[in-house]
Symmetry: C2
Subunit: 274 residues, 2 copies
Amino acid sequence: MLRLFPEPTARLAVEDVYRDVFFPEQRERPYVLINMVSSLDGKAVVEGKAGSIGSPTDHTIMRNLRARADAVMIGAGTLRAEKLTLAVPENLARGREACGFDPQPLAIVVTETGDVPLQTNLLGSLPDNLLVLAPSEIPGERLAALSAHASVEVVPKEKASTAPEGFGARRAEPGARLDLARSLEALKERHAVGLLLVEGGPALNHALVSAGLADELFLTLAPKILGGVRLEALTILEGPAVPLLKTEPKLISAHLSDDELFLRYALSSSARSS
Amino acid sequence: MLRLFPEPTARLAVEDVYRDVFFPEQRERPYVLINMVSSLDGKAVVEGKAGSIGSPTDHTIMRNLRARADAVMIGAGTLRAEKLTLAVPENLARGREACGFDPQPLAIVVTETGDVPLQTNLLGSLPDNLLVLAPSEIPGERLAALSAHASVEVVPKEKASTAPEGFGARRAEPGARLDLARSLEALKERHAVGLLLVEGGPALNHALVSAGLADELFLTLAPKILGGVRLEALTILEGPAVPLLKTEPKLISAHLSDDELFLRYALSSSARSS
């Protein structure tokens, strides 16, 4: 692994990438990192799945970031698309414990509809370390079913119709209409989440970035050209045009391993000035 | 401008990026470079247009590449979307002349339908330096109209139905069904094009990459998050899934200027071994 930026160039072990990075605190909400992998042609989700785009090195770096986070969040659509885990492996869990943290970050799934296949698709998270963010409008039986396997935090919907009219709305993706600002405040206040890692999907990323709630983007650029017709191949962020002033990404660091680039960008003013 | 890779890190003037790069020759066709700019979220064309995604530095580097090429090619859809030029500025034209080349690279527009707004949208190319690649099936009056403003090379269509079924076919984009292998052979044999620079659009890029006809990808990663609903925001390459074996991108170099990354990838075996 080669650190290309900032200078000077340096060699380091994959395990050490982002290990000693400093993340500032936000006052009212968690400091939010988004981590995604994309092909050179911008494809981040192929037939619903993101798992096979990055290399084993990318997966290691994803786990490095999880090991730093108080909580790891995904949208329910991402969980519906494939089996996955939000946990860190045993050695990283021991490292967290040794530093006084919970061995595992809190696993969070955001849902708009309550259709969250926790039992079949979410691996490695126990009910007492699993939180579902859902609106009060979801059917009672779904709420009851979710409550059997996770804590459920009921959060309000947005008042204004700022929901994406494209992908997000049509697919009824989570995050598109939940009030994410209020949701993040609840995570900080009631669940002590200071550092939140978000791992997609594209509609949740879009909602966070558009609302100015994302502080940093960790973008892995995989050395692949995937193609794929629309609706089967999604970019890291799907939704209406993002106001340019909402984000002025600034490159914080760049690492290279086997033609795969690991890029860290500041998105918010908090991140840019830290 | 900072060269990040290959090591060692070096500062250089924007004008010098890619100036002394070596491009190998192909035997039967031109050596093909694709140059595109994309946002961090993979958007390369917004409402049909690509011109405003890259910075002035990106535009300078685009012209550096043009100055190296025997010909610059685009798809007709790209020309229909906005006014543009395929020419190099005066100082670069003089430099080419001093080295025994034509002052301007040959401008090439690929069309499937003959709908090519040369007079209104293509700036800075004279008829004797302008070539349209078109299939014989286009209406006679369109062929005649094009011939008044450009040379027209009539090229065959592909026999097999390998045309993309998604974006390319629906939008009747050029390149989707022309026989690009035969077209490139004609460019080499009849127009002495040894080095061809392709500047999109996404359907033409897809057709070239899928056919194994692209040797290198120059990808500018602009520090922007654009969003944009589908069909208004395209990636650098639009079409069906690309067979993985058709391309194993290898990073040749990476430059950085004001948070904008300039990445050069080898795509073909000729490029990888050079």
